[in-house]
Amino acid sequence: MNTIATTDPLKTRSRQRSTLRGKLQDALPQIVLAPSFLLTIVFVYGFIVWTGYLSLTNSKTFPSYAITGTRAYERLWRWTLESDPPSSWYTSITNMGIFGSLYIGICLALGLLLAILLDQKIRGEGVLRPIFLYPMALSFIVTGVAWKWFLDPGLGLEQTLHHMGWTSFHFDWIKNKDFVIYTVVIAGVWQASGFVMAMFLAGLRGIDGEIMKAAQIDGASSFQLYRRIIIPLLRPIFLSAFIVLAHMAIKSYDLVVALTSGGPGGSAWLPSNFMYEYTFKRNEMAVGSASAIIMLMTISAIIVPYLYSELKEKAR
């Protein structure tokens, strides 16, 4: 604990000034943080508790507050095991696995690559940067339509290449129940990778130039420089990017709806679609709430150990 956080100077001073003003001064950082923390506790954790409570009731269209047991979880559990024909829940969670890992992995790799390329003192950075970023700016309500066309074999890429003479080209993933989720990955990566690039770029620009210079003088090749020195320095950015991507992956509701309207036979559903469908469309709020709770528990099983190791290490 040799960071400034031990606040030695402050403590020394506060001993001198035990007035109310002095005490307030000492508590100032915590007073500044407190409203945010409080809002989070109430509006996030409070609501999670509320959702958890509802999952144990028989809530349908509206919340009902009489505990009736774990029927919602029993149904979800049964659906989890129902793979042929796949239940909507089974489809949702397997899709989450495919989508989540590909989306996060590709976005991180592509974002880092683009950031490093852009950081090579190239001309036209000011033009290229917004090109990679702009997909985030557009609402998927409409870019979904553009992508839908582009991926539609009768309208888009396939037809265009056929016109150009490549008639054997075949690309109908968006119509195929086994591949539709990969088209969601493509559109998702297109949308988010530019932002990941921006985060890495901010990180790269925050790195002390002296470190780079010193390493270069030592004769390190660019590849070694990045692998040994720069990428490790970007670790906190990886954490930020991972959290942002993971949260977007989990909440990719509009993406699926705009691009595939759920896919053939509901084959493109993600858990967020399931949750929304059951809570709002099917008026089975208890099931929707239970799926939200299961999602949160799954996320925490993955995220919490990661956070723990990341934050623990930092606190050295």
Partner: protein, 313 residues
């Protein structure tokens, strides 16, 4: 910039360098083309007539370009029963987005500052809890939040009865600001905390010894060095809040508060009648102009060498 390496070390080095540059530019241009493809489709579509859209190829350039769709999207298209184009909804969105972005960014910056430079026992747990909060599905907060906002509205009404002004409580725009600030805090705190993590603590310590206070250090030392991360945070918050549909449609669906996304959705997401793709695409691009503007303007601040004493190259 690239021409300053006229060194004597020989043409081999220059050749390698030339190959490197070619590869770098080649890759960048390739990705740029791929990323631009959907935008290209949208732009060409927005300048086509409906006949051409229905008969022609999606990637073809418009044969008889027309700006009619843009004019219609701007001033004539119907949002529900009001047919005055999309222009009126800019202000609704802006008066919601700007305060929400500013408040959440400032709070995030302060939180990040406290969590890295003024640590207290348990700071990791506090940060962890705020971080995990990012993962709450918005669908499941929609109803309890609505209940609370409803109560705020009633509180505002009673304020109006007693002191003559509701102080904005219950106003749909203000409700959205509250919601977006709350659910944006996790991210803004995350961005700043992880950025400040790498910020040299020695500078803060030195300032403390010189007698600078909490806010003084923040303003004089932290903020001036935070431009890249402010850019990232603003971009993130601005886009997310601008493009939010779920909260906006649930809490502010009426005409006088309706944000841009809800209006756009009402234009685009119709399922009957001939879908005017050209107008839809034009509307979408108009609706995205502020975000694009933020990207281009804010992007300029991505310059290296902001860190004190860290000027590179």
């Amino acid at each position: 910039m690239s021409g300053h390496s006229q060194s004597a070390s020989g043409s081999a080095v220059n050749l390698t360098r030339w190959i490197n540059r070619t590869v770098i530019y080649g890759l960048l241009v390739f990705f740029a083309i791929v990323y631009l493809m959907p935008l290209f489709v949208m732009v060409v579509t927005s300048f086509k007539t409906m006949d051409e859209i229905q008969s022609g190829n999606m990637l073809a350039l418009p044969q008889s370009p027309t700006i009619e769709p843009w004019l219609k999207a701007w001033g004539e298209v119907c949002v529900g029963l009001t047919c005055a184009g999309i222009k009126g909804y800019f202000w609704n969105s802006i008066k919601m987005v700007v305060p929400a972005v500013v408040i959440s960014t400032v709070m995030g910056a302060l939180n990040g500052y406290v969590l890295t430079k003024w640590r207290f026992p348990g700071h990791t747990l506090v940060f962890g809890l705020m971080l995990f909060a990012c993962f709450i599905p918005f669908q499941s907060v929609l109803l309890p939040m609505a209940t609370i906002l409803g109560n705020l509205g009633r509180f505002g009404n009673s304020l109006e009865d007693t002191i003559g002004t509701s102080l904005g409580f219950g106003n749909p725009t203000e409700n959205l600001v509250i919601v977006h600030v709350i659910y944006g805090l996790g991210f803004t705190t995350l961005f700043f905390r992880n950025f400040y993590e790498a910020f040299p603590s020695e500078l803060v310590k030195a300032a403390q010894v010189d007698g600078a206070g909490f806010f003084q250090i923040f303003r004089r030392i932290m903020l001036p060095n935070s431009l890249p991360i402010i850019v990232v945070t603003v971009i993130y918050q601005f886009t997310n809040i601008w493009n939010d549909f779920l909260f906006a449609s649930a809490y502010a669906g009426t005409g006088d508060a309706m944000p841009m996304t809800v209006a756009l959705n009402n234009i685009v997401n119709t399922s009957t009648g001939v879908v005017e793709y050209n107008v839809n695409m034009a509307s979408a691009m108009i609706a995205a102009l502020p975000t694009l503007l933020v990207y281009i303007v804010a992007g300029r601040y991505f310059v290296r060498g902001l860190m004190a004493g860290a000027v590179k190259g």
